[in-house]
């Protein structure tokens, strides 16, 4: 197989003295949707942020597109074509939808802005209706759509999504997962998402990892993991709506 687009090797991340990641190895190949499932506090969001250089790992290596990005500052990593819709969405609440999207396009040549805007509005028509509205006044589902749209405005090669389904109604979750699938199929966008909502995530993903307490404990195709009794018991009981 060709070189992965993103790979982490033996990544250890600490918050002060507390260890959050205990040697994480993952690979994400170009064109794939890869998901990582795990319980609250397993270290999923920490891995997402470690990939983006905040915090930096204390040990191990992260390679993206053939380049060692382990110790690069966050804003330079993002320049290489990685975008993240982070935990908690982190929409700029005092800014309008349009301004949030403009922030997403900070690093992109302004000549692409209008056509990119049309694209994300096609994906999430709700945002177009709210274009002048401030981030702080929107619903959870709209905020999540905006967070993904903002990430897409940077024209990423690799999209990192941290719990896009958290706190959303099933119908909205479906809408968002459909959009992710569409982006992957029509544009070949590589997606790495972490989820507690394991059922949808595993159905969507080509490959998947399970993280427990800062370590990868299982990996396989989405369907494989979905079929395993232990995965179902640990992550799907009551979650598979």
């Amino acid at each position: 197989m060709s070189e992965p687009l993103l790979s982490t090797r033996d990544v250890h991340t600490y918050y002060g003295k507390i260890i959050a990641l205990r040697g994480v190895d993952i690979d994400v190949h170009a064109g794939e949707i890869v998901t990582m499932i795990g319980a609250n506090g397993a270290g999923k969001s920490t891995l997402m942020m470690t990939i983006c250089g905040n915090p930096h790992p204390r040990q191990g290596q992260i390679v993206y597109d053939g380049r060692d990005i382990t110790m690069m500052p966050t804003h330079e990593i993002m320049r290489l074509g990685i975008a993240q819709s982070p935990e908690g969405r982190r929409i700029f609440r005092a800014m309008t939808v349009l301004e949030n999207l403009q922030m997403g396009a900070s690093l992109v040549d302004p000549k692409y802005f209008d056509s990119d805007l049309e694209k994300v509005f096609h994906l999430f028509p709700r945002l177009k209706e709210r274009i002048k509205q401030r981030g702080g006044t929107m619903s959870g589902g709209e905020l999540q759509m905006l967070a993904i749209a903002r990430a897409l405005m940077s024209r990423p090669k690799l999209l990192l999504l941290d719990e896009p389904s958290l706190g959303l109604a099933p119908l909205v979750v479906k809408q968002i997962f459909d959009a992710i699938r569409e982006l992957n199929q029509s544009e070949g966008l590589t997606v790495f998402l972490v989820e507690q909502n394991a059922f949808h995530a595993l159905k969507l993903a080509h490959r998947a990892y399970v993280m427990v307490n800062g370590k990868i404990t299982m990996s396989g195709t989405g369907a494989e993991l979905l079929g395993r009794e232990d995965v179902r018991a640990a992550y799907l009981e009551g979650g598979g709506h």
Partner: protein, 309 residues
């Protein structure tokens, strides 16, 4: 009536200077949540650089065309003062970012003392006079009173100060609200971690904020020097405290608030001195600040912190 109009003009002039300094406090607070106590001294440095440049141009180089001199003074003073502002941030604040909250506050006070003492030692402690450069004005009103005629005058100097402030404030507001740089600054104010995730160089944006604040303070320093004709190493302290008060009164973190607060503090001070006693003008200004903060804790235009979950 003439007396009232005259005081109004004086108050607006003084308020303009406070407003320009207050912007520096409010922007730095907005972006890194810290009171830059050395900002008043940056204003003082601006006034000294302006005076030095002015004397260099007029007495040593012998240039006598005043508009050209003032323009060069303005540019040089803004450039050097900005460099000071940048250096202070780089040396005293950035290494402590992410440290506990009081640490940068202490270094800010330290920086303020350093700047004052540096100017005192290098320039001498005595006041530096500058003869009035821009004289004359327009008589707005004329009337008679028991003591003879009374005039309301708008001097050319006051016109220059108010007009410059107006232009700078409008330009600056547009810069913050309309340009990508301003947007990046607002993004850093709201969520630095997210701004970095969108490729914003947060350190550079913070540096630029200090540079802008210092540039505006240097304009205030130049105007202060021309208006009052005397400066010393200590002017930054009181002007700084007043401008800080203005920023808090208007709502710290709010740009229009800083401008409004500056004008109000200037007006309160001048009117109190004119109608009551000049000795208590600072008491009046600070009392009004205290009263406003009791009823509006986030200032006149500040947004209360609402945590939406």
């Amino acid at each position: 009536m003439e007396y009232f109009v005259q005081q109004l003009v004086n108050g607006l002039t003084l308020g303009s200077i406070y407003g320009l300094i207050a912007i520096g406090y409010t922007m730095v607070y907005g972006i890194i949540g810290m009171i830059n106590f050395a900002h008043g001294d940056i204003f003082m440095i601006g006034a000294f650089i302006a005076l030095s440049t002015f004397l260099l141009l007029t007495t040593i180089l012998g240039i006598s065309f005043l508009p050209l001199v003032l323009l060069v003074v303005l540019v040089v003073s803004m450039a050097f003062t900005s460099a000071w502002g940048w250096t202070v941030e780089r040396l005293a604040y950035r290494p402590l970012r992410g440290s506990f909250r009081l640490a940068p506050l202490i270094t800010a006070i330290g920086m303020s003392i350093v700047l004052q003492n540096f100017v005192q030692v290098s320039q001498g402690a005595r006041v530096k006079p500058l003869p009035p450069q821009i004289t004359g004005g327009i008589t707005l009103m004329e009337g008679s009173s028991a003591n003879g005629t009374i005039q309301a005058q708008l001097s050319y100097m006051q016109i220059i100060i108010i007009a410059t402030t107006l232009v700078l404030m409008v330009g600056f507001s547009l810069l913050i609200s309309r340009t990508p740089l301003g947007r990046a600054q607002r993004a850093c104010e709201q969520d630095r971690k997210m701004a970095a995730l969108l490729g914003v160089n947060v350190d550079r944006t913070i540096s630029l904020t200090f540079i802008m604040g210092a540039a505006l303070a240097s304009v205030a320093g130049l105007m202060f020097m021309l208006l009052y004709g005397v400066i010393d190493f200590y002017i930054g302290f009181l002007a700084g405290v007043k401008a800080f008060t203005a920023a808090v009164l208007g709502g710290i973190g709010s740009l229009p608030g800083a401008m409004l607060g500056g004008l109000l503090i200037g007006l309160i001070e001048v009117f109190w001195s004119a109608y009551f006693t000049v000795e208590y003008k600072d008491v009046a200004a600070f009392s009004i600040l205290a009263i406003v903060l009791i009823f509006m804790p986030s200032g006149l235009l500040g947004k209360p912190e609402i945590e939406k979950v």
